[in-house]
Subunit: 459 residues, 2 copies
Amino acid sequence: MIERLVLPEVRELLEADDLETLGAVLNRWPPADVAGIVAALGDDDRAKVFRALEGKVATGTFEYLELSCQERLLTSFDDPKAAAILEEMAPDDRTALLEELPGEVTARLLALLSPGQRAVAVALLQYAPDSIGRLMTPDFVAVRKEWTLRHVLDHVRTHGKDSETLNVLYVVDQANTLLDDLRIRNVLLAPLHTRVGDIMDGKFVALRVTDDKTSAVEVFRKYDRTALPVIDSGGKLVGIVTIDDVLDVAEEAATREIQRFGGLEALDEPYLATPLVALVRKRASWLIILFVGEMLTATAMGYFEAEIARAVVLALFVPLIISSGGNSGSQAATLIIRALALGEVKLEDWWIVLRRELASGLLLGTILGTIGFVRIALWSAFSDLYGPHWALIGLTVAFSLLGIVLWGTLSGSMLPFLLRRLGFDPATSSAPFVATLVDVTGLIIYFTVALVILRGTLL
Amino acid sequence: MIERLVLPEVRELLEADDLETLGAVLNRWPPADVAGIVAALGDDDRAKVFRALEGKVATGTFEYLELSCQERLLTSFDDPKAAAILEEMAPDDRTALLEELPGEVTARLLALLSPGQRAVAVALLQYAPDSIGRLMTPDFVAVRKEWTLRHVLDHVRTHGKDSETLNVLYVVDQANTLLDDLRIRNVLLAPLHTRVGDIMDGKFVALRVTDDKTSAVEVFRKYDRTALPVIDSGGKLVGIVTIDDVLDVAEEAATREIQRFGGLEALDEPYLATPLVALVRKRASWLIILFVGEMLTATAMGYFEAEIARAVVLALFVPLIISSGGNSGSQAATLIIRALALGEVKLEDWWIVLRRELASGLLLGTILGTIGFVRIALWSAFSDLYGPHWALIGLTVAFSLLGIVLWGTLSGSMLPFLLRRLGFDPATSSAPFVATLVDVTGLIIYFTVALVILRGTLL
């Protein structure tokens, strides 16, 4: 909010090239707010602002910017400026930036770093792209079991400056094996002569460096921690992950999930930052798959062409009936996919879900079927649109709706279980996929019901 | 995971009524894991486990349970047990539980609390249900500007025990006005004789007690904090909110958003914990609204009944064409709603979005239209299904697809802007609403195109 208020003033100072005043103003602000201003400016002005910022504020601000914005800024900096910022950046944020850049740019930038930071950066880049390793920072404070808390606090005061967090300290042995994590609250609350070993409880939760990023979200939620240690396969402490990074991972995961729900490939970039070609490509693939699947409706309708020719009135309700199946199917799919993602429902619960959805589907189908029949009865009371057999047509529509809503609900709720069981992510376009499936089968249900009820009258 | 492994052993101990051994095992574990076990048991066994747990572990475990599970457990406890647990619970978790219970139960439980905790609980319950006030805890450590850091650390050691977090301390004046927040890292890194005033930077971000819960998520994301102070309208410090509570708020918000996307009211409870009646009610309302809207398709089709009777072949493509419009519409709606929710796209960007979606819609429509034409041409090469005028039918389908995909894309992307502009939440059933809108208008587009292209041949 604050960004919007001062933006005109910042623009004026930039136009007047008064970087001194600008620096005096911006350097007093929280980097997150300065980043908000920078994000609202054009590329040239952004580079100018960075000339006005002091070292610490510059790095802090830079860390808060979107990756795409960081990329463009970095190419506009001269080497010493780029080196200064990269050198000071938190290793986890730096990894995220370096992995976005083209290989040759990354190589050039790595060469600008000091040998120590270069080793850190290279080590982190060796982990798989979606692993915890890419999310962690090796800057933490490790202490020993036999130290007193006074020693710990002195150690923190002299060695803690670069640590990403001091909210949690880590107890390791000589071989760097993780023994426990120590919340700073326990250190601060105990008398100074207490030994670390005496306040250790041996209860700790650690992430594995090769695990998937998203698994960290679950662990943070479950254990209510602000930082978690990361260990390698030998139990050695290699880094920590802090909750602020995980909040971003959680939000990205939710975005991907929502976009897959909407029937398209996850963009992985903000909407406006996605090039038009990528935007169309990610939508076209699923749109084409669904279109090809939906072609089966034309085939299914083709089988009943003779019936439609004899009773054109049947065609009028086709969109109404198949969309009701589609809607009830996506409702069910949405509920179950989300419940599976949150762990509220497990694979082995499919039987409980099936019974609940059977009941839900029958109820929902009866409601829609009744409304459908009433609608046709009402229209027929005032017009001759549906002819003398309106009651039979009404029954056809009502029973078809019952069947299709029930079928939509059941397939919508069971398909996610099936996909999960087969090892796929149930979120991937389940809802539109269910809609397509229900469209095709819905037509068959509708015309079959019609053949049974209308035989001898209209058909 | 650990829960699943030991569950059989826990069940055996419960059957043998060996609460001593059970206590010896469970009291050594992290409360989050004990809660995982409790959640997997039946109501009677849950109460038994709580008899085996020590005071601190019992409260910790209780805090990690789902609200519905807490409710049922609480009613199974006798008054002293219930009082002991409520007395020790973090005030924010306790508020969440008390607001779920029926009024008379809350009143009875409040009476069990000590006068001090009762005052705290009553004060928190006075804030609006979805406000920050309901999320905060009044347990924090406040320090004064003129204190030395040695004094601060002594104060923390003696007074910090009940504080929800010691990761951040708060500087206030005599009137309790918030002056600054102090990360514990800055306290730990400075020499002990430094005064608080010397390490204050006056840069702090505070939440307002009456603000909406979900606004906290944005602030936490933006400023990367683990705790934020909460102030009243006079700038007085009244409590703090910690990030673990916000992670839950963020996840609940994502669930609500996803469920609204799926075309149903948000459940607000886990799927399996939602009673069947509520489950059906929350789905039926939107299903009926969409059904009534979709009835317009029958009306629209009614207008073209004569055309369908003359060229039944037109009816065959109705499901294919309207579903393509619906799919492209929900894709666009999904993208824009999520981008609006994340702030990636702002209301004033509608014009940029319109141009991008115009281009996307034209491209996607051309792709689907081409596939549709090719499909009809191929079928006609091998069969006589579409008669001698297959090329004209193919053109009708192709141009209709172009028009409908373009229209779906445009209405799907613009409707969220319109809803947001009118003060509604764009997420509420936008995607299925767009699909219904596009279904009705899609039919009109299709038959109009058919009238133009097929006049003189089939029509």
